[in-house]
């Protein structure tokens, strides 16, 4: 599945359309709104646009723009009331020769009328709907264009209305851009999922004109709507793969990492773009774990070393950095290399600083093993900084890391009779741990504790999924085995269990309500044939780890196409409520 291909196609259609064939090649002005500018920035670069004769890019709501009557204008905007208003103003007092308007989603008739009313100068020569109202993050990961809190502030299991509208619109555009008319499954214990799924069903049914013209498929595609609360573990654990770590430790926002706060960073590395589409090394290593990443970076460097015929023994990341800094001519050859070096050294630094090696090991053990007493002892050591190294006490552990460990313990042993949570909380409070942070654990338990989670047959989110007797190849779809010796990668997201069941058509219909839009009534979900095309949407946010799972499935299985998305892309701080 390649969302980039979809986006590229739309982009070509938008930019290569000749607004005025008589005038020959035209210089184009591209007007965007806040949403579409991030949509565009995720899938293309300035020079790509330049090659297509787009010489000026500006915001539609910037009214300081100059009059350039000789130029043709392309508007790529979201059909929201605000932008329609801006567009109406623009064409009533036009700055450019003519306008072609592309909406990033279905435009309502009333909006079209409003636009028509203001177009008494007949400036608009074309109005087209494309369906690109979402951000392409990876080739199989999408997210919402605006970051809105999904939950209503008062009741956890209900939508924040703007976030709901955006999710609905975005998801509809995902479906349409992929030409999917799906059957919908949602987790029945979640009101938010139910609301979204039913709204999508309604939209599909009321847009039969649109969905009816889609090509018939052997098997209708599926849309799987999940709720984050059913898997609170995945976003809490520290992820050990490259892309996830960058996000967890440094933060990826619209494919850029802001490094301007770092000391000793040269000007061109202040803002790093991490984009699978433009960065070959990133594409190859974004899903690698930390060990493999160093290996791959080493190879990267060695190829250059071979080119420049220098020799120096590189064994650790520190050595690598030294090597790079001391060979400026070498550095010249690749900004890219230094970019990844910078990222991985920063990650390394943070991992050591936050003592994530020991924390990660405990996290994995808490999440996957049923070893109450040993884990508790280790947890207490970390929480109360009792660990010694060479007889010296280690520097105290970061507060937020402690909090996450506590949260993990709380979730794990919530239903356990011997849960020590209240004692641990009390003791932490005595050591001066901020009470409002401890409160977050309680909130987490309230929102996604065992009572809130889906009781999915016998499966527990605390199992190693590969341990379950399902095997790794299911109905022709093979799952990567993670039962290798890597102690930091023991846990796999609950999504894996769900997908395994889905592909053997063993999802409990009680837990996963099936909604069939008109025309797909014959679908039963009991076919021997596993789903071939699947869109997964996680209400409450998706993690890069889940995206990795999906990307690996896509890579190893040519007979399925999966796309995953969520209301946002989570890191542990955001999930637990620290950010």
């Amino acid at each position: 599945m390649d969302l980039y291909a979809v986006a590229q196609h739309y982009l070509d259609r938008i930019l290569e359309s000749e607004p005025d064939p008589a005038a020959g090649e035209d210089i184009k002005v591209l007007l965007l709104d806040s949403v579409t500018s991030s949509v565009i920035s995720m899938v293309t670069t300035q020079s790509e646009l330049l090659k297509k004769d787009v010489f000026l890019i500006d915001k539609l709501d910037n009214f300081q723009r100059d009059n350039l009557r000789n130029l043709a204008c392309i508007c790529f905007v979201q059909p929201s009331s605000a932008t329609i208003g801006d567009l109406a103003k623009e064409i009533a007092n036009p700055n450019y020769k003519n306008y072609t308007v592309y909406f990033s989603n279905t435009v309502s008739r009333s909006h079209l009328e409003r636009l028509a009313e203001s177009d008494d100068l007949e400036m608009i020569s074309k109005v087209v709907e494309v369906f690109q109202d979402y951000l392409v993050v990876n080739s199989s990961l999408f997210t919402m264009p605006q970051k809105l809190a999904p939950h209503s502030p008062l009741v956890h299991d209900s939508w924040n209305q703007p976030a709901f509208d955006q999710s609905l619109q975005s998801l509809m555009s995902v479906l349409l851009s992929l030409k999917y008319k799906p059957v919908i499954r949602y987790e029945s214990n979640s009101k938010m999922c139910a609301k979204l799924a039913n709204a999508i069903n309604f939209e599909i049914n009321s847009n039969q004109m649109l969905f009816g013209q889609l090509p018939a498929r052997d098997l209708p595609p599926s849309l799987l709507v999940l709720d984050r609360k059913n898997d609170p573990i995945t976003p809490l654990l520290f992820p050990w793969t490259y892309q996830s770590m960058i996000h967890e430790l440094l933060g990826i926002r619209n494919n850029t990492v802001d490094m301007s706060q770092m000391a000793n960073v040269s000007e061109e590395l202040k803002e790093l773009v991490v984009n699978e589409q433009t960065d070959q090394f990133y594409k190859e290593s974004m899903y690698l774990n930390f060990g493999d990443l160093s290996e791959s970076l080493k190879k990267f460097i060695e190829t250059y070393k071979a080119k420049t015929k220098t020799s120096s023994n590189i064994s650790s990341i520190k050595d690598m950095k030294f090597f790079l800094e001391n060979y400026p001519e070498f550095k010249k050859t690749s900004i890219n290399l230094s970019k990844h070096m910078l990222l991985s050294t920063e990650i390394d630094k943070k991992i050591n600083q936050l003592r994530l090696w020991e924390v990660g090991e405990l996290e994995q053990s808490l999440a996957t093993n049923d070893n109450s007493s040993a884990d508790l002892a280790e947890l207490e050591d970390l929480l109360f900084d009792r660990k010694l190294q060479n007889g010296q006490p280690l520097p105290p552990l970061d507060e937020n890391t402690k909090l996450k460990l506590l949260a993990l313990y709380a979730l794990r042993y919530e239903a356990h009779a011997s849960s020590q949570l209240s004692r641990l909380t009390r003791q932490l409070q005595q050591t001066g741990f901020p009470a409002h942070k401890l409160e977050l654990v309680k909130t987490l338990l309230k929102n996604s504790g065992v009572a809130q989670r889906l009781k999915d047959d016998d499966d527990s989110i605390f199992e190693k999924v590969s341990n379950s007797a399902m095997g790794n190849v299911i109905n022709g779809i093979s799952f990567a085995d993670n039962s290798d010796s890597n102690v930091y990668m023991q846990h796999s997201p609950r999504l894996k269990q769900v997908l395994m069941k889905l592909f053997r058509n063993k999802l409990n219909p009680k837990n996963y309500t099936l909604v069939k839009p008109n025309g797909l009534e014959s679908y039963t979900g009991n076919d021997k044939i596993p789903d071939q095309e699947l869109v997964i949407f996680i209400v409450g946010g998706v993690t890069y780890e889940e995206a990795r799972l999906v990307a690996e499935l896509n890579k190893t299985n040519k007979n399925v196409k999966l796309v995953i998305g969520g209301t946002s892309i989570l890191d542990s701080d955001t999930f637990i409520g620290l950010k």
Binding site: K51, N67, L121, V127, V130, L214, D218, I335, K528
Partner: protein, 576 residues
Amino acid sequence: MSKKRVLGASQADHAPSGLTGIPTPSSSSSASPSSSSSSSLIATEALRCPICNEVMLTLHQLNRHLDDEHSSPSPGSTDNNLQFETDFKNWFKKTVVAKATEIVNSPQGQSQRGSTKIELSASNYSEISNDEGSNNAPLMENASVIPRDHWQRLNGAMTCNMDGCPKKLGGKFGTVNCRKCGKLFCNQHTLFRMKLDRDLNPDPIQGYWSRCCQDCFLSYRQGWNLSNPSSSNLLIDKGVTFKRLRDQKIENVKLEIVTLENRSIKLLQTLKQIEDGHIPARNLKTIEQGLANWVDSSQVIECSICHTAFNFWNRKHHCRVCGLVVCGDVSRGCSMDVPANIFVDIMNTDQEEKIQNLEDVNWTVRLCLNCKQKLFNKRLLFQSRTSDSLSEFLHFFAQVKALEAKIGNKRKVDGPFDLGHVELLGKMERIGKLVANKIDGLEHSLEQGKVKSQSMQIKIDEIKLYKSLKSYIILFLQENLPILRKAQQEKLRKEQKELESQSYSKPAKPKLLKKEIREYREKLMVLNEQKFMVQNLYEDYKKRKKFDDLKSLELNLSDLQQEIDSVQNQLGDNAF
């Protein structure tokens, strides 16, 4: 035909098991009057196969029988099959009609049972006709549906047909034919499923699920490969809807504008006539009032546009074109006195018969904001579109595009590279230089303008455009740099050869003719200029750390330097 033999012929005495082979159970129901449709008969008849009249014990059995016996005719008998289908449909129609009349005619008590029967037969019908697509159980392929004649046979030790799969077929890896292409694969490489019809074509609606290989799956599966342009994304053109809406919406506005236009033309003509003395000036107000149908100002207490209340300071004014009462506040701009000659000029932009200009420049016409927009906007837009505000930029752009096309053509025609390229690229560089100068100039004057607080007509967007053009040129040059370098090397080699041959024939330095001196000097100048430009580019890249391109530029520079040296050498003392 063999499939359609009438198995239950002995039972259904009046069903002709004759030549056609198509049973006509309709005769049974139509022949038997309502009296014969006793409950027992209904029961047996309901569970009798409507095609072959075989008696079934349960409905389930009947269904299975229908699936097994009647849904899959042997391959190659499609014509018969068609015939069979139409016959069957005819039979069904007749039955339903007959039954319907039967129900209508039959007494109350029996109608209930009659309807059940219809339901039953109807459901049977739907089972049969739809069994290929929407049956609840998925239709898996079987030998009788999907032909197997094209299958590859296993002989000896064969390996999987999948590229790069070394597995030996048979044994633990399995032996599977792709249903579509027929080739043999191992188990693992035939995990794909697609729906095929009887002729092995993909048929998502009526097809049968069939196992196939990756190649067949990916190439026949509709819309699977997203980068394939034929399976392009969904795009909805709303242009027609929009234009229709716009026509509806602005029809009235257009009519209104025409009225306003006519009035203004008349008004302006009247002014002219007054000036010429044809009409006395005192009549002006009456004419104005008559023309625009003035609103009674005593009834109006606030401005019709900004809704500010009128008072002593805020006076009432009539728009001379629409007759509305508006305020004359300059800051709000609800109405203004437009100098009549400007009015005339604007109106004349698209008027066939030009209105004559007035001699006295003091004539003004009061227009309200609405009328002003309606009358002027389109014309002003038209004017500004024809006037070339960006002509210089567009000129540059056209040059760049022309050069680009030339270079592209040349490359197509003349093969990989040519000396001509160097010239063309040089031209491109020169344009780039000019553009860079222009940017500097504009930025400078912008700063100057700021200092002097003098609103010079410099558009920031214009500078942005120039900058984009510059980076466009740089991008283009970067892409073509390898060609440039190659061509230059070629040129250098040629010249060196020439030089060598010259030095052979004329060992002593020849005295240069005046003409030659001039030519060499010109060449030197051009070369120096080129060197300067490359130097600039070099610095620029260095600044922006585009180190990949620096090397090629370095080479470039040294080439240029060499050439300059050689020319200078030739010129000797004659160099300036």
